[in-house]
Symmetry: C2
Subunit: 141 residues, 2 copies
């Protein structure tokens, strides 16, 4: 299974907004930095707005800005905004209940899924958008 | 982004094989327990064989068995066999190198990716296929 780059793109977008805190940034400008289509960025901004991480305003003077300061946005929140929060999914169709494995495997996997998702969330919650911005700005221009 | 159920299915398949250690099991029988098509199971067994977790034999008397005992198979190995081992992917296309964020974001994300993937692998390596089998067999028949 291939991993998805939505989270990487979301961190990128939010870091661009964090660098221009207080300004309204156009999706075209963000798309240029990410090297993708503005439509892709607008879709992603929609998800981030739904998670209350950004605020967008339409119109000529419109654009998007962070909904709160970058030190108050953790990467766990960003991950939650663009993913289902699960590293792996359970079975698509329920397994055979007449087989002892089919009957009990989902409980085992569900427990495992919780452990994994918790460890990912814990790791990501130790990082804020402000931390990402600081690393970016420490790098050579 | 939606999670993938390949890992769940792989744990299920291997648990069926572990319950019948020493026997050669047909993909049709496994497919019945998983509630999917034998073609899906054969494709998955191909990946597990490549990772040297199972051994298959074709022909009328053929079938698949574990390549080693279930206590010597960790769930981290199973995850590695069916996934790219990455919880999230980096950008599909390289970001704009003229933008300070575009220029430096990949290094930040790459570092984060390593931390996350390490935490998932650590959690999964604490579990063996034998452990899964024991939970399954403790459950009511």
């Amino acid at each position: 299974m291939a991993a998805n780059s939505q989270f990487s793109m979301a961190v990128h977008v939010l870091t661009v907004l964090a660098r221009h805190e207080g300004e309204k940034i156009k999706s075209e400008k963000i798309a240029c930095s990410v090297n993708t289509n503005p439509v892709v960025i607008r879709r992603l901004l929609g998800q981030l707005a739904q998670a209350e991480l950004v605020e967008s305003q339409t119109g000529a003077a419109g654009g998007t800005q962070l909904a709160r300061s970058p030190e108050r946005i953790t990467l766990a929140e960003v991950y939650g905004a663009v993913s289902c929060g699960e590293v792996f999914a359970l079975h698509g169709k329920p397994p055979d209940k007449n087989c002892p494995v089919g009957r009990n495997i989902e409980a085992v996997l569900c427990n495992l899924q919780k452990q994994i998702d918790r460890s990912v969330a814990e790791t990501l919650s130790r990082h804020t958008l402000q931390g990402v911005l600081e690393v970016i700005e420490q790098e050579k221009p």
